[in-house]
Amino acid sequence: MHGYIPLSYHIINMNRNRLSFKIIVRVLLFCFILGGSVFTIYYLFARETIERESRENAIHLAESAVYKIEEIISPAEMIPDNLAWIMETNALSQDSIYAFLEQLVRNNDAVFASAIAFEPHMFSKEQYAFAPYAYRSGEEIRSHDLWSPAYNYFIMDWYQIPALLKKPYWSEPYYDEGGGGVLMTTYSAPFYRNINNSRVLGGIITIDISLEFLTEIVNSVKIFDTGYAFLISGNGVYVTHPDASRIMNQTIFTYAKEIDEPRLREIGRDMISGKSKLSKVTLKELGDVWIYHTEIPSSKWSLGVVYPHREMYAGLRNLNIMIFLLSIVALTVLIIATVRIINKQIGPLTKFAHTARNIAGGNFDTELPAVGDNYEMMELHDSFRFMQEELSKYIADLKETTSAKEKIESELRIARGIQTDMIPHIFPPFPNLPEIGLYASLESAMEVGGDLYDFFPIGDDHLCFAIGDVSGKGVPASLFMAVTITLIRSMSEKNRSAAQIVQSVNKTLTINNESNMFVTLFVGILNLRTGELQYCNAGHNPPVWLNKDKEPQMFGNTKAIPVGIFEVFDYRDETVRLDPSDQIFLYTDGVTEAEDVNKNLFGEDALIHALAENREKSSKELTDRVKQSVKDFVNGHMQSDDITMMCITYWGENGNNEKK
């Protein structure tokens, strides 16, 4: 049973090259990129939406505040218009004009004061100036003439500007000294009179309005916590602003200079020119803000609403933080889950790898790891199971085969010993025959071979020798060889000629030769006294005759067929006479047909050449040299046929000096 293994252990111990690590990293990377892309799109979209909504909201707020302001201000504009026609006639007396004005103020709550200021000598010829003025004083309505030498209204803005421009004028806001320091504005409209059939300026009618209501309306516009609305006059003077120290003291332009923000000056210029516009600007106290401004149509003042970016995007920022935190949690859960799942799913792979090693180590019974219901893992499990079973079977077969082979090999080793023992292998073989020097060698290509050689004396003055090569190789050839060599010996006892020996052997071998094997055979009988060599070549390679005074010479090609083929074949003797120290070199086709790696044959010419170079050497030395030449030629290439050589040196009747 497995204990709990912490996730960190999995991750830390996860080799970077492990499949699970790679899968997890790729999956997480993909999730990260996907999540990041989705988040970016969402963020941009949300931001855009917030901006759009804020813009719409700003416009709405500004427009509704302006509407409320207009509702109060615009009726004030109507009073002078209505009064103008009354004033066009000089119908009212001085007293009734005061009463009229007092009544007017009393009846209009929004009106703080009202005046009718006449042009010089316009009210009466005697009177230079006359400006009846009614105003609120607490609960009362009072009135008096504004004119005095110290109060020359003709040069005051409220009178002078509409008089000169001949159109109504909203004054800049001012603190009314008589009205308890209330912020006021004055609407002044000219009225006219017909004098001598010409329309001349009669004077100016004014309506003073307290701006307290206006402050209330503008201040009631709430935008988040720090956003606000403000109002500036036609000159850019702050009429309302949350920072009371700016009201009437600063213009938007002095403030722009104070915070060194030229963009605010541009906004101010747009505002006083009556534009409605949304602009971005950086304020000292709020940072980046949107300002939407629109004109108050009657007074030509401008209302601005300030949207601080910080708060505009605060919701989005909080949401982003929440999303970020959630993402971290989700990512952590994803990592844990992915690691768990991947490890569970592909964990058996590691176990399979261990199992494979165990099996390779010979432990075929190793238990296979448990797999869940994963199809691929089940397939792998079945394959392993199949491999285990097949390997077990195969190894069992292999054991059996190997033991059989070992048995055969051991038998072959014994057979080889027997075969070796069948041919003479003690050199020099005839220490008491000084006429002869003889050496022979047989190297089987396989455990047992089909080549053969033999020699033995016949009587006191003859030496019989034979060399042969059984068709085929291996055990059959070796058995055939054993029969042949036995026959040669036994036949030589009854027959005195080489041909007769061959004839007898042929006859015996042919009978019951079911396997159709045959043997090339060269049999010679050397007369040690005369050097006469009687021989019979039954299809064997012609031996080479070496004479110290002549080039090596091959015996002529035989026309006789190998023995064991036809029972009735007439083998004939041939005779040559050897001079003392002549040598006869006999060999099997294993010598001339020795192959190098490129399948080139050693050949008869190379053999003649090797023999010519060493012809005065002893039989053993000559044989060894030829053997070496063949070895050099094949250069380590595998021997494919038995190599058998035999060399006989005839020293003549009087013996030799050969030591070896």
């Binding site: 020359n152 002078q160 500007i161 000169l164 421009l165 004028y169 000159n235 009437m248 002095t254 200079k257």
Partner: protein, 332 residues
């Protein structure tokens, strides 16, 4: 112990002597009280006086100065004539006018050495040369200052309709007049602070038209000067010191200005007052004129008289010399 007792007695004796020499003297010397009236409402134009007051420079001169501002309706010179002010600041040409009409006032110190007066027009009006000002409406204060523009008109052979205004620049802003007479340190910046950019204005600086007439100076009645020469000398000295201090500590000076304006319930802001202080200080700098700070150059007086005569004519006016007009107070 005896030694110590002796020492105490010595100290007590020395302290007594010190009191007799200095303290008694101080008790005897009552500070001279002076009422000073600047010729306009509180603003940075008068920063040097507030600084001198606040820093105790007047006190150091043995003066107890009371700064009482005039208003748009009451000129400082009227207060001087009525004896309500001991010393006033005013425009040199206005002072010349008063002297010419017989008021025995004298200049005891010339603070501004240059003219800060100019006319502005809006570039969109196309008025960009003196000739184009011909027959145009010029907004001009009801309280005076018309001498220089009148001289300008005469010298350029033009006439303009003078529209008297009280104090704001609104009439110009709403195009009620074509041109407006302004002070560079005040109304010019006010226009700018109402959203009109400098590059939207054409300017006619009178100093560029050989009318660089010094402006703000200190005046008192000749009799007063004769009787209280020391006090006036101290006042001038402390005032110049105050201005120098204001020059070195501008933000502090502006603080005092803002304080005075708040006391008088006047709208104010630092941006404008900073501009004003800077320009007023520039006007006080003689520059190429060979005159010390606070003194009146005779050639400037002569040129001012020319301008005055050009503007007013000489009929019914007393004539007087530089030496009669400018009397630097002599202290002890």
């Amino acid at each position: 112990m005896k030694r110590f007792t002796y020492s105490y007695r010595c100290i007590a004796l020395l302290m007594g002597l010190a009191f007799l020499l200095f303290g008694w003297n101080n008790c005897l010397a009552q500070n001279e009280r002076l009422v000073f009236t600047p010729h306009w409402i509180p603003q940075a134009q008068f920063a040097g006086y507030y600084v001198a007051q606040d820093q105790g420079f007047y006190q150091e001169e043995g003066l107890d100065v009371d700064i009482q501002h005039s208003t748009a309706n009451i000129a400082s010179l009227d207060l001087l004539k009525q004896g309500k002010a001991d010393v006033v600041s005013t425009f040199m040409l206005d002072a010349i006018g008063q002297r010419a009409s017989g008021v025995p006032l004298v200049n005891i110190g010339q603070l501004s050495q240059h003219s800060a007066l100019l006319m502005v027009t809006k570039k969109k009006s196309g008025i960009d040369s003196p000739q184009k000002l011909h027959n145009k409406k010029l907004g001009i204060w009801s309280s005076g200052f018309e001498d220089v523009p009148l001289a300008f008109m005469q010298e350029h052979g033009i006439r303009m309709d003078l529209v008297r205004i009280l104090q704001t620049v609104n009439l110009f802003l709403v195009d009620g007049v074509d041109a407006l007479l302004v002070m560079y340190y005040n109304e010019y910046d006010q226009i700018n602070n109402c959203g009109i950019d400098e590059n939207e204005l054409n300017t006619f600086f009178f100093s560029d038209y050989n009318l660089d007439i010094p402006e703000d100076g200190l005046y008192c009645l000749e009799d007063s000067l004769n009787s209280k020469g020391d006090a006036y000398a101290g006042f001038l000295k402390a005032t110049l010191k105050g201005w120098e201090y204001a020059n070195q500590h501008r933000e502090y000076a502006i603080d005092l200005v803002i304080g005075e304006m708040n006391k008088a319930h006047l709208p104010n802001n630092r941006v404008h007052q900073r501009w004003m202080l800077e320009k007023v200080l520039e006007m006080m700098n003689p520059g190429e004129k060979k005159v010390k700070k606070g003194e009146l150059l005779k050639t400037d007086f002569v040129r001012a008289m020319e301008v005055f005569e050009m503007a007013k004519g000489t009929q019914g006016h007393q004539t007087f010399e530089f030496e009669q007009f400018y009397k630097s107070p002599k202290g002890k």
